[in-house]
């Protein structure tokens, strides 16, 4: 199947996903389940990755700025900007594409293989909307919060490990993270997070929904879902950055 066919089928699927739900109450229950599955269950991995990213960025930045002309507070500034602009929104979303995306693709793919999606259709339920809409909405709502938490934890991790390893003092680090703060950077980060959240749920859902075959194909859908959503996240990152920051 060519790329254009995939795009066309994806657009058609999304047009069915964003139809009026049969019953808001049932969809709302699904939505809160997904908030738990996508958001709260990812908190641990987000925290670990963010703290270590912040810590490594601090140490690497400090060791790469040996010139006396560069003030030490630049370490805090570099950690803040790299976490807010790139690491938290992009890297966290790529990690979530792996964790959440493969889960979505295999869950929906298994439902397809075991005829559960057919069962929903026979009941008169819009299966695409019922299975995919709550996941997209939950991700678009909860992943920006995860990214904000990641920003704080990354900067916090950088501060703690920076001070512990002696590459920066608390005063210089805190001065750096408050120096020339541009609030639009956070807005930019959240805008791209919302786009990435849509991609990392809708693309795996697409591959899962159109799975055909058995266990091997379900596995293949999970792999394709992660690969394609990661590539599209990187592509959209470039486009959004060019549009909003250039």
């Amino acid at each position: 199947m060519g790329i254009l066919s995939h795009v066309g089928r994806f657009v058609l699927l999304m047009s069915r996903v964003f139809r009026r739900p049969e019953k808001f109450k049932v969809y709302a229950q699904q939505f809160w389940k997904e908030v738990d599955a996508i958001g709260l269950n990812s908190l641990g991995i987000v925290a670990i990755v963010s703290i270590f990213m912040g810590a490594v960025t601090t140490i690497q930045t400090a060791y790469n700025m040996e010139s006396p002309w560069i003030p030490l507070y630049a370490v805090g500034l570099a950690v803040r900007d790299s976490m807010i602009l790139e690491f938290s929104p992009t890297i966290i979303c790529i990690i979530l594409a792996g964790k959440v995306g493969s889960n979505i693709a295999s869950e929906i793919g298994t439902m397809r293989v075991y005829e559960q999606i057919d069962a929903l259709e026979i009941m008169g339920v819009n299966s695409s909307a019922f299975l995919i809409l709550p996941k997209i909405l939950a991700a678009v709502l909860i992943i920006p919060f995860l990214v904000i938490i990641s920003m704080f934890l990354g900067i916090g991790g950088g501060w703690i490990f920076g001070v512990m390893s002696g590459v920066v003092t608390t005063y210089k680090f805190v001065y750096g993270i408050t120096y020339w703060f541009i609030p639009f950077y956070v807005t930019y980060a959240l805008i791209k997070t919302v786009v990435f959240a849509f991609l990392l749920t809708s693309i795996p859902a697409y591959f899962g929904y159109y799975t055909q075959g058995g266990a091997v194909e379900v596995g293949a859908s999970g792999t394709k879902a992660v690969v394609y959503s990661t590539i599209l996240i990187l592509l959209c990152n470039l486009i959004i950055t060019q549009m909003l920051l250039a």
């Binding site: 049969e22 049932v26 559960q116 069962a119 009941m123 008169g124």
Partner: protein, 250 residues
């Protein structure tokens, strides 16, 4: 009543259904039989709209299914119950929640009324103590019964069963067959059962359609099937040594 006329369906080069015409009457257990790969499941999926047909007509009562839009099809499907080969129960829901699911989606009844209806359906299929169990915790026969209860929950006019006995022992198969027969009579449903189990054919086959290589080859009752001289159907019915010996003894 469901009427289908001149149904054709191909997958790429492969012509799977070739001009099938049939009528499935209400209050009767209509069986579609045939060898594996003959097109039985594809035909059923075409009738319920899971596959689109290349040409032909499908009428539910006086409603033309082919010309219906998305909304009308959704409406009609609330009158259809389907029992899938593997049960197709939702793994994350308990037995009771599975039966409650269509009611939660489409019924405006109170929660206690919905629960009463779900429990009634579960009692009807003789599953009283399994409400809180998950599909992974119950046997194959129980899964089929839960699937029947779920299919019954919305009081469907039409019931489709795709190989309801596959993977079941002969005794449980008879229980499932009898259950299908009983609810068909009780609610005057139009029931279509796909099977290649000769026990089912003899037990519940009011009207039997034999599909051979994508074509309707023969139609009759469970009494007619033993008398027919049609070679293909005889090869199918008397495939086992036991059945051949039985025929010779007659």
């Amino acid at each position: 009543m469901i009427r289908i006329a001149d149904i054709n369906k191909s997958f790429g080069e492969k012509h799977v259904l070739k001009g099938i015409t049939a009528t499935f009457e209400a209050g009767k257990t209509n069986l579609i039989i045939g060898q594996s790969g003959s097109g039985k499941t594809v035909l059923t999926k075409c009738i319920v709209g899971l596959h689109s047909v290349d040409s032909g007509q499908i009428h539910y009562g006086d409603k033309d299914f082919i010309v219906m839009d998305f909304k009308e099809k959704k409406q009609l499907r609330q009158e259809i119950g389907m029992l899938f080969q593997g049960g197709a129960l939702f793994d994350s829901l308990t037995v009771e929640e599975n039966v409650l699911f269509p009611l939660s989606m489409f019924s405006d009844q109170s929660m206690s009324e919905k629960r009463d209806r779900a429990n009634f359906c579960l009692n009807r299929v003789k599953l009283d103590n399994a409400n809180k169990l998950f599909p992974a915790e119950i046997s194959g026969g129980m899964k089929k019964r839960v699937a029947i209860a779920r299919a019954m929950a919305m009081n469907p006019k039409y019931l489709f069963c795709d190989e309801p006995n596959s993977g079941l022992d002969p005794q449980t198969s008879i229980v499932i067959d009898n259950l299908i027969k009983e609810i068909t009579d009780e609610y005057n449903m139009t029931t279509v059962v796909i099977t290649h189990d000769m026990n089912s054919v003899m037990e519940i086959g009011d009207n039997i359609i034999f599909i051979y290589k994508g074509e309707k080859w023969w139609e009759g009752s469970n009494e007619d099937i033993l008398k027919t001289e049609n070679k293909e159907i005889n090869d199918f019915v008397y495939a086992s040594k036991y059945m051949r010996r039985l025929k010779a003894a007659k």
